[in-house]
């Protein structure tokens, strides 16, 4: 096995072009488990720890995205996302704070979740919910490619990166409304999600974003649920009035989220339980975010 240790991003891209089968390693919290148990032995490891721009984030405006955007370096650890970006990216901060343990959150990053593309990755539901204009910045010696988050996940632990590409950053619009994340596990730390759900209210364009984790071959959006609740809020003028959504619509939203999943039975839970739990999490997180939204309307009035 080779250990490639590029000192700069350009060197990393060159190394990946020359060794397309090299496995990128940053926090190591997934990669090292595979190596320790000898489940996988790549031809080379490509260490990204020395590339400082990967652990930096910046805010700005970018083409193809509305409003202010956080360009989050691929290797910014979850502990820092929660500490530094809880206002700008509340959903991702909440999700990141449920990853593993404090030690894991000091190393693990969104780039790692995206690279691994496990359906159980905690960042995915939050990224999907944050909007269809969340973009993964994939780079190679050939140039930069912006992959919309909805096109990023293509199968179980498979993403749409080309063999010579590395993830440089993720561009995530700054939240324009309340966001929530909910996850089911056997205890409050160190759990792989049985299933998870992310939600984001987008009052600016009158939409609601969702993301389902651990209940389908890939992380996925509950499209019908989003359209239903978006239509409900618009038709009844609720974005303006801040009125109650009401139990019937909340119930329907939960059912549509559950219907969007295609879960399986496995050691962590049954398919039926996952569907049930998703409906419950969808109802709860919708209620939490809507309450927060109506409170912000009232305090602004």
């Amino acid at each position: 096995m080779e250990f490639l240790r590029p000192a700069t991003w350009d060197e990393a891209l060159a190394a990946k072009a020359e060794h397309p089968s090299a496995l990128p390693i940053s926090g190591g919290t997934d990669v090292m488990v595979e190596l320790n148990f000898d489940r996988h032995r790549p031809s080379a490891l490509l260490d990204l720890n020395r590339i400082s721009e990967l652990t930096a984030w910046e805010s700005g405006r970018y083409e193809g995205q509305e409003g202010e955007v956080i360009r989050l370096g691929a290797a910014v650890p979850y502990a820092r996302i929660t500490r530094e970006l809880s206002t700008e990216l509340p959903g991702l901060s909440l999700a990141g704070n449920t990853v593993g343990s404090p030690q894991i959150r000091n190393r693990g990053s969104v780039g790692g979740n995206l690279g691994g593309a496990s359906p159980a990755g905690d960042a995915h539901p939050a990224l999907l919910a944050a909007g269809r204009d969340v973009l993964v910045e994939a780079e190679s010696v050939r140039g930069t490619r912006l992959i919309p988050i909805d096109e990023f996940y293509v199968g179980v632990k498979r993403n749409s990166l080309e063999p010579d590409e590395l993830i440089r950053a993720v561009r995530i619009p700054v939240a324009d409304g309340p966001q929530q994340f909910s996850k089911i596990g056997t205890r409050n730390a160190m759990v792989i999600a049985v299933c998870a759900f992310g939600i984001a209210l987008h009052p600016k364009n009158g939409t609601v974003g969702t993301g389902i984790g651990s209940a389908a071959p890939t992380p996925r959006r509950a499209v019908d649920a989003e359209e239903f609740i978006g239509g409900e809020l618009a038709e009844r003028g609720l974005w303006q009035s801040g009125g109650l959504i009401g139990p019937a619509a909340i119930q329907r939203f939960g059912e549509l989220v559950a219907a969007a999943a295609s879960p399986i039975d496995d050691v962590r839970g049954t398919a039926a339980y996952r569907r049930h739990a998703l409906a419950v999490m969808a109802r709860r997180t919708l209620t939490w975010t809507w309450n927060e939204y109506t409170q912000s309307l009232r305090s602004a009035a």
């Binding site: 090292m32 490891l45 404090p102 030690q103 894991i104 730390a189």
Partner: protein, 162 residues
């Protein structure tokens, strides 16, 4: 490959390191630092917790080659070089927070970091900080006592200093 880094304030060098080897293995088997314990090898138990550039991490999940030119501090580096125990270590002894002792090094490093960042943690803060460290003997009560004791001593000694 050869890996050169700082371990507990001292420059060290390990030779013939396998490319897929963990920092934990290198510390224990090549550098004579067996304080960090090897249990789960998947980041579940926290027994191998060390500081890497000041942040506590599971050393079983860091590739040895990744620490080139960086700073590692293990449980062996908590006590001062004259041999007197760190406040957290002394509190674990005094509170009886050690039974078989296997989880202790990781708990010490993680508790040390907690008290550096937050000298007066609430019980919830302690539980959250130690949520990635498993102990199968104590039921955690004595460990909670030890961290509270270390916190009380730390706060009273800093008051005296003022």
């Amino acid at each position: 490959m050869r890996v050169t880094f700082t371990a507990n304030g001292r420059e060290v060098e390990a030779d013939d390191v396998w490319e897929g080897e963990s920092l934990l293995f290198m510390l224990r088997e090549r550098l004579g630092l067996p304080g960090s314990k090897n249990a789960c090898e998947q980041g579940e138990c926290g027994s191998c917790t060390v500081y890497l550039d000041g942040a506590p991490v599971c050393s079983c999940l860091v590739a040895a080659g990744q620490v080139q030119d960086r700073e590692v501090r293990t449980v062996e580096g908590l006590a001062d070089p004259q041999g007197s125990l760190d406040e957290v270590q002394q509190a674990f002894v005094d509170a009886g927070a050690v039974q078989c002792g296997f989880c202790t090094p990781g708990l010490l490093v993680q508790s040390h970091d907690l008290l550096e960042r937050n000298p007066q943690p609430s019980d919830n803060d302690i539980r959250e900080a130690l949520s990635g460290n498993l102990c199968r003997c104590t039921g955690y009560e004595k460990i909670m006592d030890a961290v509270r004791l270390a916190s009380a001593r730390k706060c009273s000694s800093s008051e005296v200093a003022q």
